[in-house]
């Protein structure tokens, strides 16, 4: 598995994606291949976060990329490709969930995401100097993604798009075809649900949910 997170800024990535779309349309095989690779990664990550099933995520990613390339001539290359890909993936996952009622009814997934992730140090932590802190942070991230799998579809989509993929409220609203106010409302509900799930059962809400974060 390839676990390297892109080091380029969002703007650089979007510019590269746009150039690749134009190159692929012009029939450049290198651009076509690289665009296929990048779009498969975008789709796979999002599908994995929605389904928590690596094999299903791979199938969804491949179908979504094929669909993307089928309609690439219609794509506005001034728009970021991720949003279009996220829409395709989201619709595909929803179609599958509709077909598999038992799966969607529970709102949960067959596996938890915690076994599928790699963790990085949080930027404001002192984990680099303290292995125990680093372990505790990694454990928190695993619990977090395990809890994400228990959110409703609507909440999970919004949480993932905002808090992993970094889309703005307007971008999420356009991707999911919902009002911006609904984005904030659903996102807050999702975050509060996660906060409740991640809080120790005996805790009454006085201590921070992350043990390594000190109060400022």
């Amino acid at each position: 598995m390839n676990g390297v997170k892109p080091q380029q800024s969002k703007a650089q990535q979007s510019a590269l994606d746009r150039a690749l779309v134009i190159g692929a349309r012009d029939g450049d095989p290198a651009c076509h291949s690289e665009l296929g690779r990048r779009s498969a990664q975008y789709c796979y990550r999002f599908a994995l976060q929605l389904t928590a099933d690596p094999e299903l995520a791979k199938d969804v990613a491949q179908e979504s990329v094929a669909r993307f390339f089928d309609h690439i001539d219609r794509f506005d290359s001034n728009q970021p490709i991720e949003r279009w890909l996220y829409q395709i993936v989201r619709n595909r996952v929803r179609d599958l969930a509709r077909r598999d009622r038992a799966r969607s009814k529970s709102g949960a997934t067959s596996e938890s995401l915690d076994a599928l992730i790699e963790t990085r140090q949080l930027p404001t932590s002192d984990a680099s100097t303290n292995p125990a802190v680093a372990l505790e942070q990694a454990d928190f991230q695993r619990h977090l993604w395990n809890a994400v799998a228990s959110l409703t579809e609507d909440q999970r989509e919004i949480f993932v798009l905002r808090d992993f993929h970094g889309l703005s409220y307007r971008e999420i609203a356009e991707t999911l075809s919902i009002p911006t106010g609904t984005v904030m409302s659903r996102l807050h509900t999702a975050r509060m649900r996660l906060r409740t799930l991640l809080r120790p059962p005996e805790d009454e809400g006085e201590t921070p949910i992350h043990p390594n974060r000190k109060e400022s």
Binding site: M1, N2, G3, V4, K5, G27, P29, A30, H32, S33, E34, L35, G36, R37, S39, A40, Q41, Y44, R45, Q49, K58, Q62, V65, A66, F68, F69, D70, I72, D73, L116, I117, E118, T119, R120, Q121, L122, P123, T124, Q137, F140, Q141, L144, W145, D163, F164, G166, Y169, M184, S185, L187, H188, R191, M192, L194, R195, L198, G205, I209, H210, R213
Partner: protein
Amino acid sequence: MSPELPHFDEQLISGYIDGELTQQDQQRVRLHLESCAQCRQISRDLQNLTAAAMATTFPTPFDDQWDERPRTSLSRWLSYAGFGLLAIWTLSLVAFLVHQAVTDATSVRFEALLGLAPALAIVLIVASTAVDRLQTHQSDPYKKVQK
């Protein structure tokens, strides 16, 4: 939420930490957080959630683990042309057979076309696959590595 500020909309906290509020609302939330310990705690917890989620890396499959590569435009159009021609040929054959059954007349030129069309259709479909194979070969980063 602070009991002395009953009209504060708690979901504004998410908008505040994401920088998505108007300047007026941003100021309103900041003032509220200064006076409400409970909402301040919520704000800190949500920021921790966001930071932890953003710091996660999800491994993706290596390039050679994908079952298939996306098709090029040329490959797709060749395939469409091939299958389209096959469909036209099938319909023409049916129409010809019906016509022959009704009139018992034959046309040598039309029969020749009926024979040529499926051959051309197969060539186009094979060419479509060949374009895909060539594309895969040209973009294979490991093709120079000896096996």
